[in-house]
Amino acid sequence: MDLDLSDDQVALRDGIASMLAARVPIERVREGFDRALFDELAAAGVFSLRADGFSWADCAVVVEQLGRFCVPGPLVTSLLFGDGRIAGAVMDRPPIWVEHVDALDVLLVAGRGDLEAVDPATLVAERSPWPLDPCTPVARVDTLPRGKPAGVDTAQFEAAGIALTAAFQLGLADRLTELAVDYAKERVQFDRPIGGFQAIKHLLADMLTRTEVARAAVYSAGAALDEMVVNEAGTPASIARLARGAKVMAGDAAIANGKVATQVFGGMGFTWEVDVHLYLKRAWVLDTQFESSDRNAAAVCIAAGEPNRS
């Protein structure tokens, strides 16, 4: 039993973080996702982690860093599809909004039994001129065409998609804490750094607390995916329960931290110029992927109530 990062995972984390710091600064994030960005991430091995023998826990460590850098794009689904193409995913349940439609090579459609692969060129899509997240273009689709079998394990795609999206949300929550803390140390009002006031200090402590709790949940879900069978005596820790629970914790942490960071930045937090809104808006986007926190929480409850305890 070990839920701390191994030495290899620390190296993996630090490696991807330094690559992202060099290649995807926040100015690049603001430009949005394109094939050049995809190719650079692909060259770093982000989308071939599974084929290269990395564990799901390793993937979570990498995706957490993608979240910390707020990297735009259909990253988790491309990693999961893993054939070198840019893969998006959408649930066949109205209202249907497809993200990054113009950048996609393939669109995976969920909610029809096994995943189907649809050619994005065949979609009739109405592009939004003002997406919620400026880094996540969205287009409205009335009817999704039938596709071909995607040839992936649907249950695993879903479980891993939930867990890795949670890892991205964890990265957002973590970075938002850092942004707010750094600002609270610099910003002086009433002749003191505002981080010295308990009213602010306690908000920041709660940000860190939410993040650390979510981190444990995400790593635990990653490890559970690798082991496929959670074998603790009597703990009904099905993978679905752990993965969805992790997304509830990380998703709620990302949104809460985004709101608190906005508050800590004061008026500047409401400006386009300060980066905080980019993280918060992404957190809102991700809450609609692989089901919302509310739906996942209800699913956790249902999983916990099943008489599957050993």
Partner: protein, 382 residues
């Protein structure tokens, strides 16, 4: 990262499990909450069984009669005993988890010999006399004073929130030995036999309607100077040495219990999960507790490596808040069924958890500590 336990850890678990299966059926039902002498007997009888089986002082070094168990073994021990509904540490709490480790680190050979064996086998029950009516979150401002008179200290003052004060043999007491020194530097740590003349213990009734705590009044109590642990005026440091015995397992038993309560509710037989948003709210509580269970494992993993991360510092705050959210949900889900406590664990849960954000470091103090020690924010006045 892996959730799977090593073969050695699994065999520790299996051995413990087998022992519990033999021991527990023979156990009498627990006594009522306010029947303190029966509670003492029940808890110390269990401690004796643990001692005979080699599970007493699980985390104490072997040279002091402990088992020298690894952090993961401690996790497994608390998990399995809670799952089997075995007695919790009860009245042995202060002795085995706080006073004992303090004596191991700071006591003289005589002090160790006089107390450690008795604590281990359940012959000696300890209480804690730290908090005072005027010294809660600001514990170091305590005013109970010990004035030197020959080979004795003479104690006067008042302590509060003294768990097990009614039935304890001995207390660990923090007293002021230098009123002139800065407040953290004038405190000493004393072993106080609770039968000394001048000690009056009054039970303190809590919102649960029972006496979980006591107030202790000290009037001209004479204690030998030889009962001091550590140097005079060094008591603040002495009381913090037990931190190195903290392996991240403090909330394991309660987490196991909380998850059980959640799962029982999640089956939908006790409450209507379709009412309002109860199903999702309960799912959030389960996600909370599963995450805290994962955080416990993460903290234990770090303790095993001899490191300690932010997770250990946020655990108490996150756990107590999660328990209170669950307590709120219990009342909401039960509706008017919540109007009686009796043997309803869920109503009791709501009442009991009111204390969690106050005891052992209020949530506001936890946030100060997290903000300053981890995030590096400006310090509060002390």
């Amino acid at each position: 990262m892996e959730l799977r336990y090593s073969d050695a850890d699994e065999s520790f678990r299996a051995e413990l499990h087998a022992w519990l299966e033999v021991e527990l059926p023979a156990l009498a039902p627990p006594p009522p909450r306010d029947a303190w002498s029966e509670r003492r007997k029940w808890d110390t009888d269990w401690q004796r069984r643990l001692f005979d089986a080699g599970y007493a002082g699980l985390h104490w070094p072997k040279e002091y009669g402990g088992r020298g168990a690894s952090p993961t073994e401690q996790l497994i021990f608390y998990e399995e005993t809670a799952r089997a509904r075995a007695p919790y540490v009860g009245v042995n709490f202060v002795g085995t988890l706080h006073a004992g480790p303090t004596l191991i680190e700071e006591g003289t050979d005589e002090q160790k010999a006089a107390h450690l064996p008795k604590i281990l086998c359940g012959d000696e029950v300890w209480c804690q006399g730290f908090s005072e009516p005027g010294a809660g979150s600001d514990l170091a401002s305590l005013r109970t004073h010990a004035d030197r008179d020959g080979d004795d200290y003479v104690l006067n003052g008042q302590k509060i929130w003294c768990s097990f004060g009614q039935i304890a043999d001995v207390g660990e007491f923090l007293v002021r030995t230098d009123p002139e020194a800065p407040k953290h530097r004038g405190i000493s740590w004393l072993i106080l036999p609770m039968d000394l003349p001048g000690i009056e213990v009054r039970p303190l009734k809590t919102v649960l309607g029972s006496s979980e705590f006591a107030e202790v009044f000290l009037t001209d109590v004479r204690v030998p100077v030889a009962n001091r642990v550590g140097d005079e005026n060094d008591g603040w440091r002495v009381t913090n040495v037990t931190l190195k015995y903290e392996r991240g397992t403090a909330f394991v038993s309660e987490l196991v219990d909380s998850i059980r309560l959640c799962e029982d509710l999640a089956r939908g037989e006790i409450v209507d999960l379709d009412h309002g948003n109860i199903r999702a709210e309960l799912g959030r509580s389960i996600a909370d507790f599963d995450a805290l269970w994962a955080l416990t494992k993460r903290n234990v993993s770090q303790a095993t490596r001899g490191t300690s991360g932010a997770g250990a510092m946020v655990m108490k705050l996150a756990y107590s808040e999660a328990r209170q959210r669950f307590g709120d949900l219990c009342l909401k889900a039960l509706g008017r069924d919540a109007l009686h406590v009796d043997d309803n664990e869920y109503v009791e849960e709501r009442l009991r958890t009111l204390a969690l954000t106050i005891a052992a470091g209020a949530s506001q103090i936890q946030r100060n500590i997290i903000g300053e020690r981890i995030l590096g924010l400006p310090r509060e006045p002390r």
